[in-house]
């Protein structure tokens, strides 16, 4: 036996690890055991309790903040005229952007036959759902009278009124609701075969019944697989334009207005690139610690990190191009308000925010050109963190800096966030983290059957 073990170690050493999607030595059984074991053994490292605990405390802060908000009103925030769209909208756009990576990974990369998506798509999709859930709350919190939120939905009412379907704000409701629903059913469809694996491997009666019901009686029948793969592929095809449409519609909320800094045609692609950028950054921020703590390095390899870093590098450059073009267009337009917007953005009262944004969102991510940084989990984690901060600042600059000085100097003003603004921002991060860690606790975070496909493929190649 020691001999075979030695041989295996030799293979591990000699093979070029960074290029592998699954490290040698993983079999169908070991992959199933490893992934389902995280949920089924019920043993969780201190990391889980600490992270969930922090997330949960922040979530309680969110709850407190929203209760006070509902009791007193949006006056507790720093918003006023002219900056009537404050942190709530910044957070909304930021979260919805983060929610783009999951479906991008699951749908677009599936159509492009990128095999490396297989071990990471489940977690990324779950993250998408939670990010969209966080995002979806902000427009409601932002309403002065949140209890009338349903007025934006088309339903027969005694007032005889319809929503204004020509308004991007109404499109937004449809886009976000559709995106959430389609992402949810796409994610659940992907889970069904794995839920059956969980059911079959469960030891406790509670887990058996729970997963039994959730798996809908999946039994791996060839007929089921046929329909399953068909629906999954077409859902991916439908989700692809959907992903691109959601942030385009969000950007139309701004681009349709006449405000300098908002009124620009580059917004839809610029927003989509930024969304994918921050989405991948968030996936890495969540996945790098989890991969380390749950010893998933053999299933989420350096190759995965490298691929995700490459996507960030590309989308980051697109975002950089967006910044350059915004500045160029303002100058080229010959419009004094547009030109002043750029000057005010870089040397006005919020000038430091803009330069800090350039630093964390454009300059620091250039480190990703270096291969060592891309494949080192620690450095990659910090670059991703920098991007997440940067993308939040970008929305801050777009929304608040554009609003605070528009056409008439007499109507200019300054926005300063209050403690409630910060509490609700960090509280929403708490909600997100709590949901992510509950997901890791109760559902398989790596798609088991898709990893098996890769293992089988590798075995066939070897044979």
């Amino acid at each position: 036996m020691p001999e075979t073990k030695l041989l295996e170690e030799e293979i591990v050493k000699s093979s070029n690890l960074p290029h592998l999607l699954v490290r040698p030595g993983e079999t169908l059984e070991s992959a199933s055991a490893k992934i389902s074991g995280i949920v089924l053994t019920g043993k969780h490292p201190p990391f889980w309790w600490v992270s969930f605990g922090i997330g949960f405390i922040l979530l309680m802060g969110f709850l407190y903040g929203t209760i006070i908000l509902f009791m007193i009103g949006v006056g507790i925030w720093g918003i006023n005229i002219p900056v009537a769209w404050g942190f709530a909208i910044v957070n909304f756009v930021w979260w919805i952007g983060i929610g783009h990576a999951g479906t991008f990974i699951s749908a677009i990369l599936l159509l492009l036959a990128q095999k490396w998506r297989n071990s990471i798509n489940r977690l990324a999709e779950a993250m998408t759902l939670f990010a969209v859930a966080c995002a979806g709350m902000f427009p409601l919190l932002h309403l002065g009278r949140p209890w009338t939120f349903f007025w934006i939905l088309p339903y027969p009412n005694t007032m005889g009124l319809w929503p204004q379907f020509r308004s991007p704000l109404v499109w937004d409701v449809f886009a976000v609701c559709t995106y959430f629903t389609v992402s949810l059913i796409f994610w659940y469809t992907g889970l069904i075969p794995d839920l059956a694996t969980m059911r079959d491997r469960a030891r406790t009666r509670f887990a058996k019944i729970g997963f039994g019901i959730l798996s809908l009686g999946w039994r791996g029948s060839a007929i089921h697989w046929k329909h399953y793969q068909t629906v999954y592929l077409i859902l991916a095809g439908l989700s692809t334009p959907l992903v691109l449409s959601v942030h385009s519609v969000v950007s139309a909320d701004f681009a349709v207005a006449v405000l300098p800094g908002w009124h620009t045609t580059i917004f839809p692609p610029f927003f989509v690139a930024g969304a994918i950028y921050s989405g991948f950054a968030m996936v890495l921020n969540i996945m790098i610690p989890l991969r380390y703590v749950y010893r998933l390095e053999s299933l989420i390899t350096e190759r995965h990190l490298n691929c995700m870093a490459n996507v960030m590098l590309v989308t980051g450059l697109m975002v950089g191009y967006g910044y350059v073009m915004e500045t160029f267009t303002s100058w080229y337009s010959g419009d004094i308000f547009e030109q002043y917007m750029v000057i005010n953005r870089s040397i006005g009262p919020y000038g430091w925010v803009y330069w800090f944004l350039i630093l964390v969102n454009i300059v620091i991510p250039q480190l990703l050109w270096i291969r060592k940084i891309r494949t080192n989990p620690v450095s990659l984690f910090f670059v991703a963190l920098s991007i997440n901060v940067g993308m939040w600042l970008e929305r801050f600059v777009i929304i608040i800096v554009s609003l605070h000085r528009d056409f008439l100097p007499s109507s200019w003003g300054i926005f300063a966030p209050t403690g409630w603004d910060w509490l609700i921002l960090f509280g929403s991060i708490g909600l997100f983290c709590s949901l992510v860690f509950l997901f890791v606790r109760f559902l398989p975070m790596i798609p088991i059957f898709e990893v098996k496909e890769i293992i089988v493929e590798r075995q066939e190649e070897a044979a």
Binding site: P154, A175, T181, A196, R201, G217, A222, V231, P241, V456
Partner: protein
């Protein structure tokens, strides 16, 4: 227990690898059996075609769902904006179709996706939390690394002894009769 009438549902054969299963499925299909199914831990390419399932109606269902979504979405917007409550905004056309496209697109995707998943579940006869094959010993391994072939007793060619003989010839690891009420 002999007093209880138990019906024979069919016979399963267990295999260790996908290649063996594919080989066996091909033989069984060539022998003329049609009420057959195969159970695998991951989708095996070509297997549904081998057991005679070449088409899925899911794409058609999704197309119908998508068209329905598009018609409903555009119809709703046209009805509300151009017919039921027309608002003259600077003399612009009431049926301002370019502005109706985003919602039409979103609902097309939504209806199509919902129809697709509903269609997939309906065609697969899911949810169905219990099925006779679950009683086969070792069947829980099918979601990990085992492969099963199944011939239903309703197949006109089904004869317990000959099917068992066929499975033996195909070198099945285990052969199980599935009995139940």
């Amino acid at each position: 227990m002999s007093s209880v009438q138990v019906r024979l549902h069919g016979l399963t054969a267990e295999f260790d690898s996908a290649e063996q299963l594919v080989q066996a499925a091909r033989t069984v299909f060539e022998q003329g059996f049609r009420q057959i199914d195969a159970f695998t831990p991951y989708p095996v390419e070509g297997l549904p075609e081998i057991i005679g399932r070449t088409k899925s109606a899911v794409p058609l269902i999704m197309l119908i769902g998508g068209i329905a979504g598009a018609v409903i979405a555009y119809g709703m917007q046209w009805y509300a904006m151009a017919y039921y409550y027309p608002l003259n905004i600077g003399g612009r056309p009431l049926n301002s179709w370019p502005l109706f496209i985003p919602i039409t697109f979103e609902l097309t995707v939504l209806f199509s996706a919902l129809a697709g998943v509903a269609g997939f579940l309906f065609l697969s006869r899911l949810p169905c939390v219990h099925h006779p094959v679950f009683s086969v010993p070792g069947f829980e391994r099918v979601s990990t690394d085992q492969f099963f072939l199944w011939i239903e007793a309703t197949d006109p060619l089904f004869d317990e002894r000959s099917v068992r003989h066929l499975f033996e010839r195909l070198e099945a690891r285990t052969i199980t009769e599935v009995r139940g009420k």
